[in-house]
Amino acid sequence: MKKKTYEELVKESPVTYEMYANMVDDGNRYEISDGVLELMSPSPLFIHQFISHKMQVILDGSCQNEFIILAAPLDVILSDTEVRQPDLVMIHLSRTHIIGKRGINGAPDLVVEITSKHSLKRDKLTKRNVYAKYGVREYWIVDPSSFTLEQYELCEDHYELVDVYSGEEPIRSRTAPCVSFSMDELVSSLPVPPDQLK
């Protein structure tokens, strides 16, 4: 079967995991949002990558005995027509059966999105609804423009904002009690003044 390009696939509906997995690699990253192929924003910014890396290191340090912590790009296959690439995911060691060759087959225990100008709307609206719908217990939105972390907990079928962290406030999680860091730890580890990255 001839591999399809983005231009060809974007016209099809619904796009499934199989179609996505067999498309021509054009160097871009895509997600499938409710059966629609979506191009992800260009390359992440320095601050995005730095925070992602730092958080992974910190979370690994305090949670690796209980969770697998992975960073994007990695497919999280929530359904045949809902495939996402969260910035960070945490999967409890009791649920490693959802780890497969292709990526994660199901809902991670905790998902983190680090917002950028391009992704803010998607992260706060679409993805928030998607992660809730597929039962991700906890969702964090990290905003590098204000160095805050919004913590959402799954409450039946929707998320409730339970806390907003900034500065020295210790981040605590019911889903992952091993979590223990503050936004200041991330900010103070930046190699350059934050203003240089604005």
């Binding site: 803010l120 609206l125 905003d143 204000s146 919004e150 904002l161």
Partner: protein, 194 residues
């Protein structure tokens, strides 16, 4: 000295009611009462906060003035005896103008808006949002100067706020419940110096 002591004592009284709050000596600070607790408001807002608020008021007045009363802080919004807040901006439909009294606004406005500042971010997103939700303010906007966005919450089923839209760039803010609203969110940040 006597007065200072008085104010400090009031803070400890539980619950603080509107009466207690209204009788406090003016110490130059702004306070709110949230669930019976007196809370000091952050110092003075910044120039960018005020510039955004002014633009917002301008935009609302342009298209909503004939249908709504439009006010901005400081102004007491007395939602209950133990919840007295000062939203950055509010709109009240003219058919409900009876809630405007000599004490301030007595009841839920049709719209409450908070412009975030570093010190109010958490309060506005959590505490005040919960207070507006609990007292049935049908629509709540959070304007974030850092991301230059406007988040629109509506009371949904179960009388809980649902984030229904996030506006950015030149997108036009619109509302089913407030049909007169129409302005580009970028307009709010046009005069922010930085």
């Amino acid at each position: 000295m006597e007065k200072k002591k008085k104010a400090a004592d009031k803070v400890k009284e539980q619950p603080v009611t509107y009466e207690i709050y209204a009788e406090m000596p003016d110490d130059g600070n702004r306070y709110e009462v949230i669930d019976g607790v007196l809370e000091l408001m952050s110092p003075s807002p910044t120039a960018s906060h005020q510039s955004i608020l002014l633009e917002l008021i301008d935009a609302l007045r342009q298209s909503c003035k004939s249908d709504y009363l439009i006010y901005f802080a400081p102004l007491d919004v007395i939602l209950s005896d133990t919840n007295v807040v000062q939203p950055d901006a509010i709109m009240i439909h003219r058919s409900r103008k009876h809630i405007v009294t000599s004490r301030g606004i007595e009841g839920p406005p049709d719209l409450a808006v908070e412009v975030l500042s570093p010190s109010s971010r958490k309060r506005d997103r959590l505490k005040k949002r919960a207070v507006y939700e609990k007292h049935g303010v049908p629509e709540y906007w959070i304007v974030d100067p850092e991301t230059e966005t406007l988040e629109q919450f509506h009371l949904g089923e179960r009388d809980k706020y649902v984030l229904t839209q996030l506006y950015e760039g030149d997108e036009l803010v619109a509302s089913d419940k407030l049909p007169c609203v129409s302005f580009a969110v970028s307009r709010l940040f046009a005069d922010v110096l930085q």
